[in-house]
């Protein structure tokens, strides 16, 4: 295949017959690809040399993505000191949320639990149900006023093949009773949404399943 490369930076050069005599340059063809080959252009679509160049553009793009994927696969381990300094730098304080008051036997002492800690409690309660993984956990309502009813909204992922309704009901019950046992929140409702399913990788299989993306 012969390929003509447009002379870079020579806008005055307008006699370029283009690739395969189509009148289109490499850059034009790349733009055409970027637009999903739409609107269809017969001068390109019916030109064998243009088609060959389009295939080349797609090929080197796909190869570039393969290259980065291969770089990643060749170096799957993260440096532990890098990992350590990352997690030393991130802080949970910003995510602590509202302060939820707790009654105190001593009137001089003010006790409270953070919204973040309650979310953690909810996650642990839901995760404790076989086949369930908690995702988002949101607390709706006036947390700062003792006794005012609140609503808990959580999303869960359920193990593929497990009984969805039963798991969702158990999660709801477990979250409710944990909140009752460990907080003074007045829980009006626990809404559970099944947002996802997950699978246990087949340990006998030799191919490693990819990420859960």
């Amino acid at each position: 295949m012969t390929m003509e490369t447009p002379p870079p930076g020579e806008p005055g050069d307008t006699v370029d017959p283009g690739i395969g005599g189509s009148g289109y340059t490499l850059e034009d063809l790349s733009d055409y690809l970027d637009h999903g080959r739409l609107p269809a252009n017969p001068a390109i679509d019916d030109n064998a040399e243009c088609q060959s160049v389009l295939a080349s553009i797609e090929r080197v793009g796909a190869l570039s993505r393969d290259l980065v994927a291969k770089d990643a696969a060749d170096n799957p381990a993260l440096d532990e000191s890098w990992f350590g300094s990352l997690f030393a730098a991130i802080s949970n304080e910003a995510k602590a949320g509202r302060d939820i008051p707790l009654s105190s036997p001593d009137p001089r002492t003010r006790l409270s639990i953070t919204e973040g800690a309650v979310r953690e409690l909810v996650r642990a309660a839901g995760d404790g149900v076989d086949g369930a993984l908690v995702g988002r956990c949101q607390l709706h309502g006036d947390l700062e006023s003792p006794g005012s009813g609140i609503r808990v909204e959580i999303s869960i992922s359920v193990l593929l093949g497990a009984p969805v309704h039963e798991i969702a009901a158990t999660v709801r019950q477990r979250v409710y009773s944990e909140l009752l046992a460990h907080t003074e929140l007045s829980v009006d409702a626990v809404d559970v949404t099944v947002a996802d399913v997950h699978v246990v990788p087949d340990l006998d299989a030799t191919d490693t399943t990819g990420s859960g993306a």
Binding site: V60, N75, I90, H198, G212
Partner: protein, 189 residues
């Protein structure tokens, strides 16, 4: 075991990106660690190809993940957390490049002479090795645009924003990079 319920600790590595991102947004550092281990190698590889430096890539990815942790709750679609992380990594990578030297100096100069013949190129073990050579030999500005476009999937305007150059410059660099990459890789067809 979970410290108060006595139930087995759930294996978060089974969770989807969406679930992990949601938990991270709620402050679950363990879920965030799983997410980082899952996508860290790709993010580092991507940043390395942009910056051309493993050390810069490590710093850029770490900076990006700290930013991401703080901003997670603003994420609209938790299922797209990988693409979102990739965009933050590309921004932090290009920040590092800009700090290194003005982008205008990266236009045309090739880091080293690269005029190997087809026979020498065939020494590369695979077409991916060959492509790695070709990309490494591209002028830095061209390589950055190429990786952001082809691996990051960004538009000319987005790349221009990130690199602080005009879309016309991005277009020119990509045109030259494309011509070089295609002709150098022709032998591997």
């Amino acid at each position: 075991m979970c410290y108060w319920t006595g139930h087995p600790v759930t294996d978060l590595s089974l969770a989807s990106d969406e679930i992990l991102a949601e938990r991270s947004a709620d402050g679950d550092t363990v879920a965030f660690a799983v997410l980082v281990r899952r996508h860290g190698p790709f993010l580092r590889a991507f940043a390395t190809r942009i910056t051309g430096s493993a050390a810069d890539a490590d710093d850029a990815v770490q900076e990006a993940l700290i930013t991401a942790w703080d901003a997670l709750s603003s994420l609209e679609d938790f299922g797209k957390v990988r693409a979102w992380l990739t965009s933050i990594v590309s921004r932090k990578s290009t920040d590092r490049i800009r700090r290194r030297k003005p982008s205008s100096q990266l236009d045309d100069e090739s880091p080293e002479a690269f005029h190997r013949g087809p026979e020498q190129r065939a020494i590369a073990q695979s077409q991916l090795d060959a492509l790695a050579d070709v990309l490494a030999a591209l002028p830095e500005g061209q390589r950055q645009c190429w990786v952001l476009k082809e691996v990051g999937g960004y538009s000319y305007d987005e790349i221009a924003d990130e690199l602080d150059i005009t879309p016309a410059v991005v277009r020119g660099r990509l045109a030259r990079a494309r011509a070089t990459v295609i002709s150098e890789m022709e032998v591997w067809k």
